[in-house]
Symmetry: C2
Subunit: 461 residues, 2 copies
């Protein structure tokens, strides 16, 4: 009997502690959200980054400025330490504004293009040749060399509008941008024009990185805006069978410069109980060289700093060490992510979890995990705490490009999942500007991450 | 034994039918979403409404045009019938652009205001008086008449940023706009200026309807932009205790004209099996007289028509009658909603369910029901079918202003629930323009409603 009572008491104590913990966690999450929504600084920081610095491709003077800005800003925020991690980055320079048009007989139609990041230039006088079209990247395999040789290939793949999450469609369609040039060169094409990988029909071409395969001729590659892609497509369909009927001209004078030193910027609040267990939250400081890089990834940068700022503002001393990492060179090399992981391994750091925010500063919907590891299972058990904040999507679509390098260090990789409907309207375009970011949405994303970091810091694994 | 086998077979048949139904429903929902995302017309229709007609306050020539536009458009879509429901609407005319400033000593600060809908004018030469401030509408009760008499009262209530759903904050704060004038008049104020009921800090004042209590002096009422409210607040705080230190001037020449005939526009596809059971989906055709009325409620208008359009495009013959209702005069009278319910009662119509879309054309998150009736219970059981489309919020925050009049007719009242973060940035302002609407978000909302209408039409109650 006594043992039964003892057991019962034991169970009751455990249960009551669990209930208390759950209640205290709820209260803390509410405080975190209140703080971010009422007094979050991320939006103001983003304004500074967008208007005082602007876009900031790796190696550019603006990227240097952004490093200084992140470093100085974090030094004012009272963190335990702020430090830089040097890394070499590639430097690709777009050159003067591209020019392009197509001709149907004597009719000339000017079109908007952007050279793809990493592409070589056209000759100085530009390139002028017959253009042929394929509907999707997959069609390239069955293309006859005769149909392509000496011509410009237009890869007209469209993002699938049917997927509810636009990232799924992006993942499929982006191959034409990344791999289109070498695939076209194998068929004898002298240049490649890809339809912009985007969801809306407008005049803004979407740039982004591309690569050349080894031992394949390098040909110039550019993206054409979706509205102009539609016009080009219509003419090519109209003149189907008459391969020389439509000619394309473009001129881009981009080039690779020498590699240059740049930096990741890291801010840290040291854990009060388990300082050697590290949780990171990060976005990337570089952007493409058009627009403001506001959603991609200014938003992620300021949200990551907001997480630490919220801990400071609320006076929460985390049990484990938390770090905001502003990665360099996500867009065209991923050198910052690689370097971070390399240093973490060299320093034998125990990075227990990493959250990346690089999918836009839109309304957060949940988190994504790389797989259903035991750690992911534990973190997913916090889901119910986030239901009042409408974070219903806890799925397995991976972490993110910068933190993925930590995979072999046993780190739980997590991505913030925002609403994805608008992201690929403006991704890598001149339209990715500050006015597209909503303050509440941005701060809700920061609050979501702060909440999750808090719970992981309290309970560990 | 035989009976057991019989029972088991029976259970298996039921179960298998249920599984088939569920599977067929899933397939149909996928088709509905595919159709809306790939070939939805709502966005193009909204473009027409915004750019060919523009904003359309009740009684205005543009509202007349909008009625004709909705009627003509639906007549081209092959519905079984399209008809107008005449109703008298109030006509409030803003007059020439308002002027306003405040003075601190000799320093003059121009500010942006909008007269509130329904307000009387200032004298022709405007009004110029000392201004006093209260922080929230609730503070008015404890205000001394002496502090207010002969002055302009500034009600500076701010929307609570902490609520995750912004409609909650709106519901609380909007009282200062609706009831501020009479409350101020009771304290002897000669005019009322309210802080715009909005979530962002910017230069756009938010108009909206207000009412005068009977037997209380009518005083002019306007809303001031949030950025100018901040400036005014700062000066009033600085000069606290010195009641005459800050003076406010404004001039608005708005007035009520005679009531005028207008119309609800209704399109119908008759049910193939239960034509007398009616499901309606609707938004309101009128808007405020600034901006485009794009989110409020052009979005709802075109989404409602899209629901019927999707049925036609997919060749679905609904078992029950479905109607798109474009209500008139939601903003300042609700006469269209009242008239619709009145006619439905007079015609002894059986409106089994009504969905209203009047919360912006943003990413849909779910549906809201008025209460947990048996009908709501049945419809909520469809929730799992919508999880692939990220509709996770099925709550009880009510139907909508236009369909609420059907409450006493046994109708299940449902509201489409979109993401609410951006809505009150632009609500009732010159910034509620077409460019703020995202095509995919708009069409996802239409698809969500089409799916729910389909299921209710198939299975009834």
């Amino acid at each position: 009997m006594f043992r039964k009572i003892l057991l019962l008491s034991f169970v009751l104590v455990i249960y009551s502690n669990l209930c208390n913990a759950q209640m205290n966690d709820s209260i803390m999450l509410r405080k975190i959200y209140d703080q971010a929504l009422e007094n979050g600084k991320a939006y103001d920081w983003l304004h500074e980054l967008c208007f005082k610095i602007g876009n900031r491709v790796s190696g550019s003077p603006q990227a240097d400025k952004a490093v200084k800005w992140g470093d100085s800003l974090m030094r004012t925020l009272g963190y335990d330490s702020v430090f830089l991690q040097p890394c070499m980055v590639p430097q690709w320079w777009r050159g003067p504004k591209e020019k392009a048009h197509f001709m149907v007989g004597k009719k000339k139609v000017d079109v908007n293009i952007l050279a793809l990041g990493g592409s070589i230039a056209t000759p100085k006088e530009g390139m002028d040749a017959a253009i042929v079209m394929i509907d999707t990247f997959d069609d390239i395999d069955s293309m006859m060399v005769e149909a392509c040789r000496g011509k410009i290939l237009f890869i007209n793949g469209k993002m699938n509008q049917k997927n509810i999450r636009t990232f799924q469609s992006y993942g499929h369609c982006v191959r034409q941008r990344w791999a289109g040039a070498s695939a076209a060169a194998k068929k004898g094409a002298i240049a490649v024009v890809v339809r912009s990988v985007g969801t809306s029909t407008d005049e803004f071409p979407h740039t982004g990185s591309m690569g050349y395969e080894e031992n394949i001729a390098q040909i110039p590659a550019c993206a054409i805006s979706t509205i102009h892609a539609d016009m080009l497509e219509a003419q090519l369909k109209k003149h189907k069978g008459d391969d020389g009927a439509v000619r394309f001209y473009f001129n881009q004078q981009c080039k690779m410069l020498e590699e240059k030193q740049s930096y990741n910027v890291v801010g840290e609040i040291r854990g009060s109980q388990f300082p050697n267990e590290i949780i990171i939250v990060g976005g990337h400081l570089d952007s493409w060289d058009v627009g403001h890089g506001a959603h991609d990834d200014g938003a992620g940068v300021v949200q990551s700093m907001q997480v630490l700022q919220s801990f400071k503002a609320l006076g929460i001393k985390p049990k484990r060490t938390i770090r905001a990492v502003l990665f360099m060179n996500e867009e065209n090399g991923g050198r910052g992510g690689t370097k971070y992981a390399e240093l973490a391994a060299a320093n034998k750091e125990n990075t227990i979890a990493a959250i990346e925010t690089d999918a836009g500063g839109f309304s957060p919907q949940g988190f994504s995990f790389e797989n259903d590891s035991l750690r992911a299972f534990k973190v997913r058990s916090y889901k119910n705490l986030f239901e009042p904040y409408q974070l219903f999507s806890w799925n397995y679509s991976g972490g993110g490009a910068d933190i993925n390098h930590l995979r072999n260090q046993g780190t739980l990789l997590i991505g913030l999942v925002p609403d994805s409907q608008r992201y690929f309207d403006i991704h890598h375009t001149a339209a990715d500007t500050f006015d597209k970011v909503n303050k509440r949405e941005l701060h809700l994303g920061a609050a979501a991450m702060t909440g999750l970091v808090y719970l992981m810091s309290e309970y560990g694994f």
